[in-house]
Amino acid sequence: MMQSFFEWMQGLPFSAWMLEETWASPIIQCAHLVALVAFAGAVLLVDMRLLGRGLIRTPLNQLAREADRWMIWSFVALFITGAPQVLSTALKQYYSPFFWWKMQIVLIGLVFTFTIRRRVVLAEEGTLGHWPKVVGFLSIGMWTGVSVYARLIGLLS
């Protein structure tokens, strides 16, 4: 069933247009990379703070509120620029294990970010023991994993 869905995506006129239009893929990939940089910066600012590094003189919840706007909007940009790439190379993605690993971590990362991480960054500082460090470490690990698998889809699939 999943394979038929990916075959359907690959057969869409938009997917054909993406493959035929010389500049479509490069422009979308460049925009995806710029959005990735913004997303990484927003995530890192807060995760480093959770680990006791970076902007430690700024209250964590203040920093998180500021960075979250950028994180959410850059993630929206990542989705908007990522979806056409999946559509136009749907079968390549389907047969790549890295794509599925990436998507699994993206899903876990999103749930983690908007539940556990959000609770920790908005909690009163100094009340959660070592948990902020654990959360910061996990968040950096997950989003690094997403970047690594995303890169490997193109290189090893």
Binding site: T22, W23, P26, Q29, C30, L33, V34, L36, V37, A38, F39, A40, G41, A42, V43, L44, L45, M48, R53, G54, L55, I56, R57, T58, Q62, L63, E66, A67, R69, W70, T144, S147, V148, R151, L152, L155, L156
Partner: protein
Amino acid sequence: MIRSAFEWVDALPSSIALRESLNAYPTLLTIHVVSMCLFAGLIAFWDMRLVGLTLRKVPVSNIPTRLFPWALTGYGINLITGGLLLYSQPMRYFGNFYFWAKMALMVLAGINMFWFHYATYKSVQAWDQGREIPLNARLAGVVSLALWAAVVVTGRMMAYSGLMPQWWNNLNIGA
């Protein structure tokens, strides 16, 4: 002369070994991208602070002190992996317009950074806490954002050797 240097590196046994390794290219490129996220992600927030787009309650001088060591670590890893990628396939990059554009943009970003550091940042105590950032500093932030975004874009475009400008192809540099 530059071409000879690239050809000389291209023929070195270590360059050939790196080029022929199955794992070297994907490994180096992946580390290159991840370290770029560390460097460019943090620098983008520094630039946006200068422009006044974010972190307006954070004193400006806090950011270089607290974030630059991490950003520079990312940049160092980025330079090493980028250097090794170039070392492994120098002739692939020699004729690539986007490679040279990326190098030129990095030099310009460096000049902008030094100009800002030595000309504008000296007076940071006067505007450190305030919301009003001097025009020169805001300008340096905008220029830096644009230049590093262009570095990222040209870096990605290096993979598209078939999409180089016609005038560049006419120069026959890679031939």
